[in-house]
Amino acid sequence: MKPSAFNYAKPSSVDEVLGLLSEYGDEATILAGGQSLVPTMNMRLSAPSLVIDINGLAELSGISSNGESLRIGALTRHVEIENSSEIAEHAPLITMAMPSIAHPAIRNRGTMGGSIAMADPAAEMPACLCALGAEIEITGGSGARKVAATDFFKGLYDTDLGGDEIITAIEIPKISAGYRSAFDELARRHGDYAMCGAAAHAKVDGLVISDLRLVFFAVGGTPVVAAAVGSAMADQTVDAISIVAAQHAVEDDLSPFDDLQCSATLRMHYAKELTKRILNTLAAG
């Protein structure tokens, strides 16, 4: 359980990171918070010959507000996001999800960019960013580009990030008037990988829901946008009948899998239960 030997670089600029990435290619890996990367290195699932530690890049860290959106630097740690009043006000879904990310000692180190780059199918942040319509800012040799979160996650641990690129920030549209968010997940132990989780954002008027973006995680290789549930709940009042209809729609949205934690059948059951909880939470305000 020790990582194989590697060399270590601690660049002082994004340009320097990009230079090292283009020089070393697949042999290099970026170390941000290290809370997912280091376990994979300890288990030798990953054996880079060069670790590029970006923790010296202060410009990649911090939360700022630009008009209609929030910008979170890729190196911003979970603990800072969890305690940010700006995030709580303008992107409450993120604040709701934070306590479910592992444990305090992990949140003191783990970063937003690292979570997104790892793209663990059971991770909370990818699903939240998809629900909120966030964009990922990626910087490469030819400059920065932005990708919608829903296009960024391609498959199991697979993203749109090129081998010679780095995530520099994410941008989240600020919550609009009349919108609410809800978050819930089911795990064996608090902070463990979810067996099923859901992040949601919707317009709520009294008990009537519209523009629902419900995103499940830990049920597929990537976050899964529940489009059928969104259609089923369009301009619907949250009540016993609409909840059952939404739960039926979950079957169209998800094809869950078996693993050591739970069966596909149980996952589907959990997804339906979470759908009910999420809709009730949205309606309750």
């Binding site: 809370q35 300890n42 992990i106 180190r109 132990r189």
Partner: protein
């Protein structure tokens, strides 16, 4: 082609003392503390961030010693269970763990005490559910946690004068 691994010199302040060592980049912070500095109070458990036995404080915040490279700790202030114990600020926690038999085999205890110190700093008056949630990242395979939660509850009550 064999890659030449360059050793790196780091300096850090550990339990108030400045230390300097030449290390391999792959050395974890917990192995650095145990093997280079012989501070064996911090334990090595799962080595992938799950069990919490290696919890130490870096620049005031608890971290997993197995998920941080020693080279990343250059220039930081590190506090281990030895430092906290010698400083006396956890004497009441140690006493309560002892009296309530919350240590049993003792393997998880240093990590639990480090985590508890952080809990009581951020939330001086936690209820039992909050204690359990905060400690959810620290495994104990002996006590069933009940005695640990009791001990922490006792200290929280005592510290607020009751």
């Amino acid at each position: 082609m064999t890659t030449v691994i360059e050793q790196i010199q780091i300096s850090a302040t550990v339990n108030g003392e400045k230390v300097t060592r030449l290390i391999e980049p792959r050395l974890s912070l917990v192995d650095f503390l145990r093997n280079e500095l012989e501070l064996t109070g911090t334990h090595v458990g799962c080595e992938h961030g799950v069990c919490g036995a290696c919890t130490v404080r870096v620049n005031g915040e608890i971290v997993r010693g197995c998920l941080m490279l020693a080279v990343q700790a250059g220039g930081t202030e590190i506090m281990t269970i030895e430092g906290e114990s010698d400083g006396g600020e956890i004497a009441d926690l140690q006493k309560a763990f002892h009296e309530r038999n919350a240590a049993q085999c003792g393997f998880c205890t240093p990590g639990l005490i480090m985590t508890t110190t952080e809990l009581l700093k951020t939330n001086p008056d936690p209820n039992r559910a909050e204690i359990r949630e905060y400690l959810s990242g620290n495994y104990c395979r002996c006590t069933g946690y009940e005695a640990i939660v009791d001990a922490i509850e006792t200290v929280a009550t005592e510290r607020k004068g009751g």
